[in-house]
Symmetry: C2
Subunit: 457 residues, 2 copies
């Protein structure tokens, strides 16, 4: 009986302890959200990044300005250290705006295209050739060289609208953009046109990275708007000898020296342990990179601002990294991981925000079962802020190279429904970001960082 | 031992039964989402409602056209019954666009205002008077008649940005709009200006219903944009004798005959049991009423379309109601409940969609503990579609009058972050609705209706 009583007392103590700890955590998390929704500077920082700087493709003036701007902001804030981490980055330039057209009943119909990042350009007078539509690499292979040689291949497999998480739909279609050109060149195609990675029907082409398999000739590769893709498909059905004209002006220049921007608040107890949060500062050239990934950068910066302004002293070092070159090379992410390994740095966790500045939904975690369970156990503190969806899943591109060093990875998951309307297209502008959604994202990540710092992993 | 074995077998049977039932439900719900995301007509119906018809204030031509359009659509679809349910509705008209200004250093500064629905107009030459800013009715009462008489009262309590659910923030501010005029008139004010119910700072005034307490004189009442409210507040701080000029041209005309639009698929087993789903067809006059509540109407219509096209035969009658006059009178909701009582109709449930066409989050349920628990037990089927937030809470305005008849009520809960950017303002247009978000909402409600029809409540 005494044993039972002791156990009971112990359990009572534990539960009281838990209730107190939790109610204290609950109050601090409430403060974090209050701060974010009333006093954060992430929205105005994003406005500057989008409207005063604009597109920030690796190697561009915009990218350099963004590095200077964010470094200067972080330095002025007086964090414990702010530094640049050098890396060479590719420098691909679009040149003059692309053009494309088809002839229908003797009438010229212009189509909206854009070169894919990394593509070679067409000859000066452009390319005119018959166009063959396929939905997959298998279909292409079945058609074979006889049907493809000398022609333009049009990859028109749409993103699957029935995937609830739109990143799944992206994953199911993006190999057309990444490898379509070389797959087509394998059978003698002279150019490649890819349906934009966009779930919406509109007239904006979406760019993005493509890679050449050097076994085959490098042929020009472009994205066509979803509206244009549907129109082109209809016209091919009506005329299987339809010719497609296209002209692009892009080229790859010599690599350029660029930088990750790093800032940290040093830990008060175990400064050697690092909690890393990051987004990427580079964007595609067609828009302002507001959701992709201005949002992730200003949210990362906001974590430090929140800890500083609320006077939360972390036990571990909170470090943010604004990575360079996520879009077309991942050189920033790779350089960061390389240096971390060299310096034998210990990362408790690496968190990435690169899925847009939308309303928070949760976190996906690439870590051990025990670590995932620990994070999931904080759900009761986070659910009232809409963070219901906390589970095992992928990390992120820029933090990915840290996985080999055994670092647990977390990707912040905002709602994904609108992301691909804007992703890599001219529509990804500041006006497409809702202030509250952006701020809630910053608060969500800050709260998670607070809990990881306090309880470890 | 035998007992244990029997129990074990029974439990095994139960769990197998559950797994089979659940996997069948899971497949049907998957079909519902697939249909919604690929073949639904709710987005095109919303486009027609917004772009071909436009504003639909009760008593207006737009409202009549919307009734004709939806009735005709539902009739063409061949549902078991489609009918109009008559009710008289108020007819308030805005007249010529309002104007307002202040004089700062001899310069005229125009401010964006709009009359509140139900307000009387100013005299022909407008009203010019000193303006007094208050944040609450208490502050107004403390100032008293001496400070208020002959002046314009400016209610400038902002919606609280720290509320995560924005409807809570709305609830905390909207009494200024609803009762501000009479509260001000009580102390001799000549007009009332209310900060727009908007969490964003922009230059769009947001209208909405106001009511007079007939104990006091009816004074003109307007909303000012949040940008204008901040500017006005700053100028009052600089000059406490600041005069505000305003002119409005609105008036209330005689009541007009109007209608709820009702359609149903009759139940195959217990047709006398009704599952009701509704939204409201009327909107404010300043915009297209896309989110408020075109979205709820086209989603309600989509439930019937989904059941019909997927050949799901409900046991109970599925009835949709497109209510009239939610915005400024609730006459449609009241008339519906009155007739339901007269006919002794039995509603299993009433579900409302009137919080915008945003990404689904869950349902709030106003029902008995047992009923709520039953609905919550379906979470495992609904969570993968983002419906995490299923819990006790309020029903909706139009279905509210059914509560007295003991009908359980459910409100569909989409994400609330962007709603008040557009609510009752010129920004509530078709372009502000994302197709997938709208379709996911329709699928979410259809899935819930499917489960309620199958398992009862």
């Amino acid at each position: 009986m005494k044993k039972v009583k002791t156990l009971f007392c112990f359990l009572l103590f534990l539960s009281t302890f838990n209730v107190n700890a939790q109610s204290n955590d609950s109050a601090i998390i409430r403060n974090i959200y209050n701060f974010s929704l009333t006093n954060s500077s992430c929205y105005q920082n994003l406005e500057f990044l989008c409207k005063q700087i604009g597109p920030r493709l690796s190697g561009s003036t915009g990218a350099s300005k963004a590095i200077d701007f964010t470094k200067s902001l972080l330095t002025k804030a007086g964090y414990d250290s702010v530094f640049l981490q050098p890396t060479m980055v590719p420098c691909w330039v679009r040149g003059e705006k692309e053009s494309a057209s088809i002839q229908v009943n003797g009438k010229n119909i212009a189509l909206q295209i854009c070169a894919l990042g990394g593509s070679v350009k067409t000859p000066k007078n452009g390319i005119v050739a018959e166009v063959v539509e396929v939905k997959s690499f298998e279909e292409l292979a079945n058609l074979g060289r006889k049907a493809i040689e000398g022609k333009i291949v049009f990859f028109n497999r749409a993103m699957d609208p029935t995937k609830i998480e739109t990143f799944g739909a992206y994953g199911g279609a993006v190999n057309q953009r990444g490898s379509g050109a070389s797959q087509a060149a394998k059978y003698g195609a002279v150019a490649c046109v890819v349906r934009s990675m966009n779930l919406r029907i509109d007239d904006y082409p979406h760019t993005g990275a493509m890679r050449y398999d050097t076994t085959y000739p490098k042929i020009p590769s472009v994205a066509i708007s979803t509206f244009g893709a549907n129109l082109l498909s209809d016209q091919i059905k009506a005329n299987n000898k339809l010719k497609f004209s296209m002209k692009t002006n892009c080229e790859t220049k010599a690599d350029v020296l660029s930088y990750n921007v790093v800032a940290e608040i040093r830990g008060s107890e175990t400064p050697e342990n690092i909690i890393l949060i990051g987004g990427h500062l580079d964007s595609w050239d067609l828009a302002e990179g507001a959701h992709d990934d201005g949002a992730g950068c200003v949210q990362s910066m906001e974590i430090l601002n929140t800890f500083q302004k609320l006077n939360i002293k972390p036990k571990n070092t909170i470090r943010i990294v604004l990575f360079i070159n996520e879009e077309n090379g991942l050189r920033g992410g790779v350089a960061y991981a390389k240096e971390a390994a060299l310096k034998k740095e210990k990362h408790l966790i690496a968190i990435e925000s690169d899925e847009g500045g939308f309303t928070p939904r949760g976190f996906s975690i690439d870590a051990s079962k025990t670590q995932i369970e620990k994070i999931v156990s904080w759900k009761n503190l986070l659910e009232e802020y809409g963070l219901y969806d906390i589970r095992k899943g992928g990390g992120g591109a820029d933090i990915g190279p840290l996985k080999d060093q055994g670092v647990p990875l977390i990707s912040f998951k905002p709602d994904s429904q609108r992301y691909f309307d804007m992703h890599h297209a001219a529509t990804d502008v500041f006006e497409a970001v809702n202030k509250r959604e952006l701020e809630l994202g910053a608060a969500s990540i800050s709260s998670l960082v607070y809990l990881i710092d306090k309880y470890g992993l």
